[in-house]
């Protein structure tokens, strides 16, 4: 697994706002470095299968809601 984490030094923030814009209402599978969408679908399983068909062996799942906002959780 190769993500953006590091043991030492600083890490650079990631901006997914543009990357996810075309995937509203879908589950997406990000590349292992969290910079690209490698697959998408209406379920997590579909997104994983799509990513794997594109050669991504270690995808990371998330959902892209149409509506979100400032949360206090």
């Amino acid at each position: 697994m190769r993500d953006q984490s590091q043991d030492q030094g600083s890490v650079k923030p990631i901006d997914l706002t543009g990357v996810l814009k075309s995937y509203v209402n879908r589950w997406v599978a990000l590349s292992s470095d969290q910079t690209r969408v490698e697959g998408s679908g209406t379920t997590p399983s579909e997104a994983l299968a799509d990513a794997k068909s594109h050669g991504e062996t270690d995808p990371i799942l998330l959902f892209v809601p149409a509506v979100s906002g400032a949360y206090v959780l």
Binding site: S10, L20, F63, A66, S68, G69
Partner: protein, 153 residues
């Protein structure tokens, strides 16, 4: 292990737009040998950890076979989740953690089903997760550092 903050943005219920950098990290979740990766928010204000119910299917979990629990949020009522114990890998460390898998993390507008509302990612909360790690948030540097409190036997 240091992780970068991640910026997420979407339309707001009022029709505007909102984006923010958040301490959302990649984790690996495992249940009875089946594993997948998932993004999750480090939420110091959450008592428990919550994942989308859809993740239960990926992991081969029978969602409603376990204890049901009701959760309360600020301002918008309550939601229900089903508690299952999973293993979570963060930065190479595996911990066991109880997680509520919640159908309500994605809600559909009854008048427009394409208008989903909810969270992009799961939530890692105090009980079960934060208690196993030292977590240092650095909002100005937009990074968060985790280390395991106790090596797993």
């Amino acid at each position: 292990m240091k992780f970068p903050y991640v910026k997420f943005g979407a339309k707001t219920p009022e029709g505007g737009e909102y984006a923010s950098f958040r301490p959302v990290i990649p984790i690996q979740v495992r249940y009875r040998g089946r594993a997948t990766r998932y993004m999750a928010l480090l939420d110091s204000g959450a008592d428990v950890s919550m994942f989308h119910a859809e993740m239960a299917e990926v992991l081969g979990i029978d969602l409603k076979s376990s204890t049901e629990m009701v959760f309360y949020g600020v301002g918008h009522g309550k939601s229900t989740g089903y508690i299952h114990e999973v293993e979570i890998n963060v930065g190479g460390w595996w911990v066991t953690c109880s997680v509520a898998f919640c159908p309500g993390m994605i809600r559909q507008d009854p008048l427009d089903p394409s208008r989903t509302q909810g969270l992009f990612y799961g939530i890692l909360g105090q009980d079960g997760f934060f208690e196993q790690f030292n977590i240092k948030f650095d909002r100005s540097a937009k990074q968060v550092e985790l280390s395991l409190r106790q090596a797993r036997a």
